[in-house]
Amino acid sequence: MILQPAVLALLLIALLVAGMGIYAGFYGMRILSRWDPTSGSEGQLELERRTYLISTIMSYILSFELMSLFLFIYTADDIHILFTGAMCAAGTLAVNSFGYPALLLKMVNFLLAGVWLIVNYVDNKGYDYPLIKTKYELLNVVVVLLVQESVLLLAYFSGVKPDVITSCCGSLFSHESTNLSGDLASLPHLPMQIAFFTGMAATAVSGIIFYLRGRIGYLFSLAATATFLIAATSVVSFICLYFYELPTHHCPFCLLQKEYGFIGYVLYATLFSGAVAGIGTGVLMPFRKIGSLIRIIPAIQRRLTLVTLIFYLLFTLIVSWKMVFSALKLG
């Protein structure tokens, strides 16, 4: 175990988030079993009061998850010097088999928490708690994943000892490497570029159609989600090459460094925000016909669509700019 303050901070957060999550989940289950909005009994009033607490907790969890995601990457980067062969965060995370799963789960939880808050917001706009069951069932899923993430994080940090030889991002994200990250890196450039731009275009077109006509909402959401995955893969596959101006440097974490103008933050922020909004739009689709939400959901979905369109556009523009003006030219 590395007893560094940053590591202790991360573990503390993980503990707090898991704790709050379990608390929220506990009351969520209670709400699921005893909810009766037509009753004016004290029990029901108490449950309604609890919903405020759960919303507040989830908002905090979302912001903590976001901050700790970046703190995690930064810390991994900071302690890379303790491990032979690690040049940046990528190497640190590879020290044991819990590092990358913890990171991935953190990202997933951030997306899920974001989607939950969107559903919560919509539910609050309806005058008869229309989405309450869905909301708290989703909450249970999120809570389980949050606890799992905390366990992974704990497992990762307790299994980390200095001086362990690990792969540096050079060998981790290199073409010859036979693990997943190596596979991602060795994907041929041209097909990935085509996939990336196609995905973005599909999202844009379906988004505009949805925004103007209110149709193919599911398609748009699907496109947005798929594009998110393609874009994330593309970052490793070819995007970061243009930023590093090196055909072999595939590490997605070095983009967050000062040398590259912290551009990684902008890229990941736009991508993730766009993804949350896009996924949220899809999640809301089945509820469009509910009486109290008939006017509300379409309006909110349009706003979310706009968010996705704008952020994905920003992402694409930055990437395209770099592709055109980078010193590196890929075949």
């Binding site: 007893l3 303050p5 940053a6 901070a9 503390l12 009061r49 905090y60 302690i79 010097i81 303790l82």
Partner: protein
């Protein structure tokens, strides 16, 4: 959107006014909060500054140092080893180093003695500022040291290292190889260790492996290993101190929770009134959120600023003992300020986040006070 902003601003204004109205309670909370942040920030700044110093020092250290072990303890390295190592492919230079420790019975301190045949340096020995101070020496004075055969070795002080180099040179004496050998009765043709330079840094582990196989009694040490070790030690020490402070942090959290839960009758009535005149639960939650944020940010800002002053102007008198180690002569060094967003983020996570978490439930309880209560005085 405009309405949301207006709502936030109006409620924020009310929050500030109400914080000022309950000055005593909020000041005591702020003071404790400030103290905790101050301690943690001081620790953080101090450790980071030390780490940075150590890293800086190591930049000029040789990439590899080869020692020789006899029965597990460090022994002298014959020059012959150096000649053989210089022939290994990839090695560009091998420099035998002469250095050791000298115990000064007069003040119980250990000096580091190094031999240097740098003819460009001024003649005479160079000593660290701390030694000059401890033995009351100036340039031109004579420093008597006792050699191993009880005869004195008189060193003429040619120069004194500036105190800005105190971290590495406070207890250092640099003298000529001849003086070194006389002082320690050092055998000729031997060195304390060998500094090895390699053409391609990536080859270091390979070369080290070759040296180790060619000379089984040698111990090659890489600079990167030293860096790791230093980093580890600082981290570990920082972490240990943090754990000690954890109890302080915990007390503060309990204190904060208690303050948040213990609403006075006055406060309870006020919230009841707000609810009864049209403030909704989420409005009162927003009020409480702003309260927490204002207090947290104020404490954070002040705590960090005070810590900065404590560490970088006063050299952290509160922590120095625990973190610098145990010695008789202390370098009187000023730490170079190192503050970055990462440090502040860690601080934030260790203080503001637990505080916020602890106050979530009490704030919610306050916000869900029944307006009914206000109607019934």
């Amino acid at each position: 959107m405009k309405r949301t902003v207006e709502r936030h601003l109006n409620i924020l204004e009310f929050t500030l006014a109400s914080l000022l109205r309950r000055r005593a309670k909020n000041l005591s909370l702020l003071a404790m909060y400030l103290l905790v942040i101050f301690m943690l920030a001081s620790l953080q700044f101090f450790v980071t500054a030390l780490k940075r110093e150590a890293a800086l020092i190591l930049t000029d250290a040789p990439d590899m140092v080869v020692q020789r072990l006899t029965a597990g303890r460090q022994d002298l390295v014959p020059d012959r080893y150096g000649a053989d190592i210089a022939r290994i492919k990839g090695v560009t230079a091998v420099r035998p180093r002469l250095w050791g420790y000298y115990y000064d019975a007069l003040n119980g301190a250990n000096y580091t003695i190094m031999a240097s045949d740098d003819t460009a340096a001024p003649p005479g020995a160079a000593i660290g500022a701390a030694i000059a101070k401890a033995r009351n020496l100036q340039i031109g004075d004579l420093l008597p040291l006792i050699s191993y055969d009880k005869s004195p070795v008189m060193l003429e002080i040619g120069s004194i290292f500036p105190s800005s180099s105190d971290l590495i040179a406070a207890d250092l004496i640099v003298l000529s190889p001849a003086d070194f050998q006389q002082l320690f009765n050092f055998p000729g043709g031997q060195a304390t260790d060998l500094a090895v330079t390699v053409r391609n840094p990536k080859e270091l582990p390979t070369v080290a492996a070759k040296i180790a196989s060619q000379f089984p009694d040698s111990r090659p040490i890489l600079k990167s290993e030293i860096q790791r070790t230093y980093q580890s030690i600082f981290d570990w020490r920082g972490g240990m101190t943090l754990i000690v402070l954890a109890s302080a942090l915990l007390s503060f959290i309990i204190f904060a929770w208690d303050k948040a839960t213990g609403l006075s009758a006055e406060e309870r009535k006020e919230i009841g009134i707000l609810k009864s005149i049209g403030w909704e639960t989420s409005d009162v939650l927003l009020l409480k959120f702003w309260e927490g944020l204002v207090i947290s940010l104020t404490a954070f800002l002040l705590g960090v600023v005070l810590a900065y002053g404590h560490v970088f102007f006063l050299s952290a008198p509160l922590f120095a003992q625990a973190l610098k180690g145990w010695s008789v002569i202390y370098p009187r060094f000023q730490l170079v300020p190192v503050v970055n967003a990462y440090q502040l983020a860690v601080l934030f996570f260790l203080t503001v986040v637990p505080y916020t978490t602890a106050t979530v439930i009490p704030c919610w309880r306050a916000a869900t006070i029944d307006p009914d209560a206000a109607m019934r005085y």
